[in-house]
Amino acid sequence: MNLSRPDRRERLERLAAEYALGTLPSRARMRLTDVAKRDAAVAGVVADWERRLAVLAEAMPGINPSPRVWRGIVAQLGLDSDRAAAPLSWWERLAVWRALAVVAFAVAVVLAMVQLSREPVAPTQAVVIVLAGPDAKPALIATADRGQRFLAVRAIGGTSAGAGKALELWALPDGGKPKSLGLIPAGGLTRVPLAAPAETALAGIPTLAVSLEPAGGSPTGQPTGPVLYTGKVERFY
């Protein structure tokens, strides 16, 4: 099949376009791949179409893959994992670039909240987490007594997941994978149940995070959507 002949140009354009779009049926797809390997002119037309269409993908929001992928690449290529500087996972990255700012802000917000509400902080109210977005504006405040088996979560402003989506709360253990604490129900003040009393359930957990997930929560058991908010677990006991 000599597709690069001038009189076949129109047909080649059509095949290349559908190949790049992905609608070329499987057999034709395999045939075109073979022809493109041998015929540079055909490969060029295919590449033009790929470039035209790739423009469309550029604004697609990203989703961070599991750290498994990078580990697999390093292992498969036999790279020196120190020199290849294993990428920080998203929660480590967050920890690095925001830790200080967020802690300072969390404390300030808790103080402000206490003053504004003009209510004495109950002596048993011992765990406070202020979850903020990249703009450092608090979106959710979670509190618990140390012996309590739930987090009371208060949404601030118009914080909500939107239709067909859910906000999922994660515990980020030091050096471990995120553990889901469950979905945050819609509403101003809600409860997220804990498997154990807060003191135990949050032991060894310096940070919580909230990611945007499909309705019903992450299908993989790990965050799949963007991380919207993070907050440090402040213990007052």
Partner: protein, 198 residues
């Protein structure tokens, strides 16, 4: 929203990293991964709807980058375009291969698993506009009629075949095929006229 300027800056940065990767610079390779993997994973996961398969394809693609960064540098295409094409093609090969097996076994592909696109957000049509905006080719996309526009968006972002498009859009196969063909022709003329061929 990524602007055209931000995208061209990013492409420039990535091209620099790739030329270092071509020389075996492992740190540059790590940086390149950090700056591109979320985009490519999103592309793969949308098409495959299978996190594990998407991870495998991503791993293969980056192994390929390490080995062939030199040939990319020589070809001077846009790095993210190059990589997006590699990942999409691998995903589509994966899907179409599976489809080939299914088609052989069950010629009536109404048995194919239903695809639930209802809860996806943003929708493919919105993504089409967002991407086009970034490239100032919004006019070309808007110039497409509703049918071709939808068919092309679903095929591109979700990897749907002609048959799946027909089922999803509830239109005869012939109509959908002609939407795709005419839509692509029109898109090409318009993008090329708008200077999209860089």
């Amino acid at each position: 929203m990524a602007t055209a300027h931000a995208i061209s800056e990013r492409n420039h940065r990535l091209a620099e990293l790739l030329s270092k990767v071509a020389l075996g610079d492992q740190r540059a390779f790590g940086d390149f991964y950090r700056q591109t993997s979320a985009h490519l994973y999103a592309v793969a996961v949308r098409i495959l709807r299978d996190a594990q398969a998407a991870e495998e394809i991503l791993q293969e693609a980056y192994v390929n980058v390490w080995h062939h960064a030199g040939s990319y540098v020589a070809a001077k295409s846009q790095p993210l375009t190059w990589l997006t094409s590699i990942v999409r093609n691998r995903c589509l090969d994966h899907l179409r291969r599976r489809e080939l097996d299914t088609v052989t076994l069950t010629p009536d592909d109404d048995d194919a698993p239903a695809i639930d696109l209802a809860d996806e957000r943003p929708t493919p049509a919105e993504l089409l506009l967002a991407g086009a905006e970034a490239r100032a080719v919004r006019d070309c996309v808007e110039a497409l009629d509703a049918g071709p526009n939808q068919a092309i968006a679903l095929a591109y972002f979700q990897g749907l075949s002609h048959g799946e498009l027909a089922r999803h859009l509830n239109e005869p196969l012939g109509t959908v095929k002609s939407w795709v063909r005419r839509g692509l022709e029109k898109l090409r003329r318009c993008l090329d006229a708008a200077g999209g061929s860089r």
